[in-house]
């Protein structure tokens, strides 16, 4: 089989797994899980340096030296303006011009604010960022983000950190049908079957953090998720059989049945 690569902006990707770097029990387990995932894209958040702690708590000390693509997010932003500021700070690191726009206006659901997300996407595209907005699973706003120049669209399966799986597969399927940029399911996946289902709907990739980091064995779960991505992708490419209401014998040879 020809290698199944895909592309975001000018980067060719082999892995369809974007993995988050939060909530792992320790840096060692985190790095083992990242290795098991074979992810090429790692996500991060941007926060103030803790000036009271002399300890180097920078996550980058653990991932340096590897050829990852860094995808900083704008978590913590409540408005487009705040998200743009965080994105500029992230880019000034010199590590990446990719940004995951993440703007939540509700603490309980952390659901994305679509209007602010669109505004931030427009601004950041103009400033030359590779913009990957995290957005609701709404086909219309996803199309609007694509028209605004988003390099990929990242609809949520369910609210962040819930592990509820794909709440609206119909919408995710529609988003994929309509999109001309990659669709990445971001947030809400819980286990391997959720991931396979997402891939079977034809999405280009998945972004996960909590379901790996909060598994009892994060390294094994990273491996499971990787295989689930492969399984779902292959099933999608193969084209599943049509569903039927009634049984249909798989043995055939009707006229030679033993009477």
């Amino acid at each position: 089989m020809k290698q199944d690569t895909w592309r975001i902006g000018d980067r060719v990707l082999t892995s369809r797994f974007f993995i988050g770097t939060g909530l792992f029990p320790n840096p060692y387990v985190q790095m083992e899980a990242i290795a098991a995932s074979e992810a090429e894209v790692l996500t991060f958040a941007i926060r103030r340096v803790n000036l009271e702690s002399a300890e180097d708590d920078s996550i980058l000390q653990h991932v340096q030296g590897n050829d990852y693509i860094f995808l900083p997010n704008t978590s913590g932003a409540r408005t487009a303006e705040e998200a743009v500021r965080i994105a500029r700070l992230a880019r000034a690191s010199g590590l990446s011009d990719w940004v995951k726009v993440e703007i939540s206006a509700n603490e309980r659901t952390l659901l994305p604010d679509p209007i602010e997300t669109l505004k931030a996407t427009e601004t950041l595209v103009k400033e030359g960022f590779t913009v990957l907005p995290y957005i609701s699973d709404d086909p219309i706003i996803c199309k609007r983000l694509e028209e605004a120049g988003a390099a990929a669209i990242m609809p949520g399966a369910a609210p962040i950190g819930t592990g509820l799986g794909i709440l609206n597969p119909y919408n995710i399927g529609l988003i994929v049908e309509e999109a001309t940029v990659p669709v990445i399911v971001d947030a809400g996946l819980g286990t391997a079957s959720d991931v396979t289902r997402a891939m079977e709907l034809g999405v280009s990739g998945v972004l996960m953090n909590t379901p790996v980091a909060k598994a009892k064995d994060p390294v094994m779960m990273a491996e499971a998720m990787k295989r689930a991505i492969d399984a779902g992708r292959l099933a999608y490419l193969s084209g599943r059989m049509a569903k039927r209401r009634y049984a249909s014998a798989s043995s055939g040879y009707e006229q030679f049945k033993i009477q």
């Binding site: 988050g20 770097t21 939060g22 909530l23 792992f24 985190q30 996500t43 991060f44 958040a45 941007i46 926060r47 103030r48 340096v49 000036l51 002399a54 180097d56 708590d57 920078s58 996550i59 980058l60 860094f70 900083p72 997010n73 978590s75 500021r85 500029r88 700070l89 992230a90 000034a92 690191s93 010199g94 590590l95 962040i160 947030a187 972004l207 996960m208 953090n209 909590t210």
Partner: protein
Amino acid sequence: MELIINGSERELEAETIADVIERLGLSGKPVVAEADGVVLTSEQWSGTKVAPGMKIELVHFVGGG
């Protein structure tokens, strides 16, 4: 001089952002600075003068999804 760093007032001997980074023991670390709302690349630190009351943000990458 009195500076507001990451939201807290702090007394520091510094002329430039590069001095601030050094005094705080952050030299060589992957931090990003913003001075009065202007995001700076590390090449701009030594050329950016600080002034009393300046609002400085020092941020870095942390774990996140």
